[in-house]
Subunit: 315 residues, 2 copies
Amino acid sequence: MALPDFHDVELAAARLKGIARETPIRTSRQLDARSHATVFLKCENFQRVGAFKFRGAYNAVTQRPSSKSVVALSSGNHAQGIALACRLSGKEAHLVMPEPVNPIKRAAVQEYGGIVHVPPDPRDADSFSRDLVRELHGEWIEAFNDPDVIAGQGTAALELLGRVPDLDVLLGPIGGGGLLSGTCLAAHGLNPKIQVFACEPAGALDALYSVRENRIVSQEHPRTIAEGLRTSVGTLTLPILRDHLAGFFVVTEEEIVAAMRFVYERMKLVIEPAGAVAVAPLLRQEPALQGKRVGVIISGGNVDLSRYFDGLSGF
Amino acid sequence: MALPDFHDVELAAARLKGIARETPIRTSRQLDARSHATVFLKCENFQRVGAFKFRGAYNAVTQRPSSKSVVALSSGNHAQGIALACRLSGKEAHLVMPEPVNPIKRAAVQEYGGIVHVPPDPRDADSFSRDLVRELHGEWIEAFNDPDVIAGQGTAALELLGRVPDLDVLLGPIGGGGLLSGTCLAAHGLNPKIQVFACEPAGALDALYSVRENRIVSQEHPRTIAEGLRTSVGTLTLPILRDHLAGFFVVTEEEIVAAMRFVYERMKLVIEPAGAVAVAPLLRQEPALQGKRVGVIISGGNVDLSRYFDGLSGF
């Protein structure tokens, strides 16, 4: 597959217009004071399905006109994005969700009309998905290693830079690299001087190694609260990241939780741990960010708050 | 004291311009679907100090030019509002906070430069405050029963109606009635047909009785998670409420928690229980709200999330 480019991000933005939300940009005096930077959070937690993943999913679904069925393997935000994108496009979404399936996420996918398939053995999820594609004559849409998905994810940065053009730095969390590679294409299509940094949990440190060694170093035993970042980069995302990234910020689990707490308590935003990964370098006052105008893509807000609400029954 | 009117709300809005945040208005397909209404949340959780209280505090502080010291009795959002308003106006804020003092709220007040006084006996907080006013030749600013405070609180509804003029109904939580009486003045100054409803926890049901009996029925043993709503109405707020309110919606503790959870999980907003009180009637599909365009003043987002974050340490 050919790598996507800036023009693909622009085309994706045109397709998403009026369909995806142009999500708000939030600022905070307290965050600026703490970080010694001027920070703009692009709030994809307010995106449809609660995460940026809707952008790439919708862009990809609408670029597969030949089939009426779409198959995707995901137990997270990609599954919800595909389900909603298919409903809006009159297609049938088949989501392969390997055990253990989070019942909240399963219900969310079904609410959007998605058909959930649970493979008998989670280790066979890939072959199970391939069989399903064949059976249904369906279209397969990968969660990040897909040119249309990458281009769609880049539209969040495109919108942010449309509103705040004079950013020095962009930050985003990295898992498979779909969001970050799209962000690189959008940023450097508009202004090659913008530095894009990937933020990665120390407990799932494969993207940094992959970019350094220019080969996919796979993530064997990720240990991070940021679920969405436990995957390895792909054959399409790696070359883009390698060409465009200014560097990495590696953050600890404690920093992720502290950043979540800061954003909830001070900015009143519900964000998921992956979103907090990209805020953490600001709170520890990374030298490269001091005095800079920094945009942060907050990936989403899909987080299980049961431990807060269960048993919170008032009086 | 004379009752404030619509013109006072307009003057307050002019004073707050560029000082208070014009907070965002959020909508949600899911909330509309659940409530069978078209709903606009005025997000005062994004206001400075995290609550609408900053509006009234700042308006009142700037209308007391004769003294350089301000005294207020509050262990909640009013204390923070007065502390920040004084810092911005070059005044000294003295906050009387009776035990038990929440250490987070105490720290927040001190962060804004407020001087905290803890009366030796919480039952003597009133006389302790009066002594302090005398001693300091200070100005006393009550949390809700003050014309400048009421006018300031009305600016939230004024902004909302400036952006969404064609609302049928406005909802807000009621404690002392400062927010709701200001909301009434703003709404009916612009359009006498807008129905303003007060939302009150069943466990702190004094405002409804006070309006019905046209006398202050005091709140003896409030039992609600919505801390800010445990107070009784005042001599200024009661006549305004009595003249303007279309009615009351009484909600249970379970409905308050369910509404909080809905707003966190579906709308990704951190709100305090008092804010959820005004969302609860929508989620139970109150007949009077069906098919209506409804504005809701979300009072704030100052809530203790320790039970969620303590022990959430990633891996």
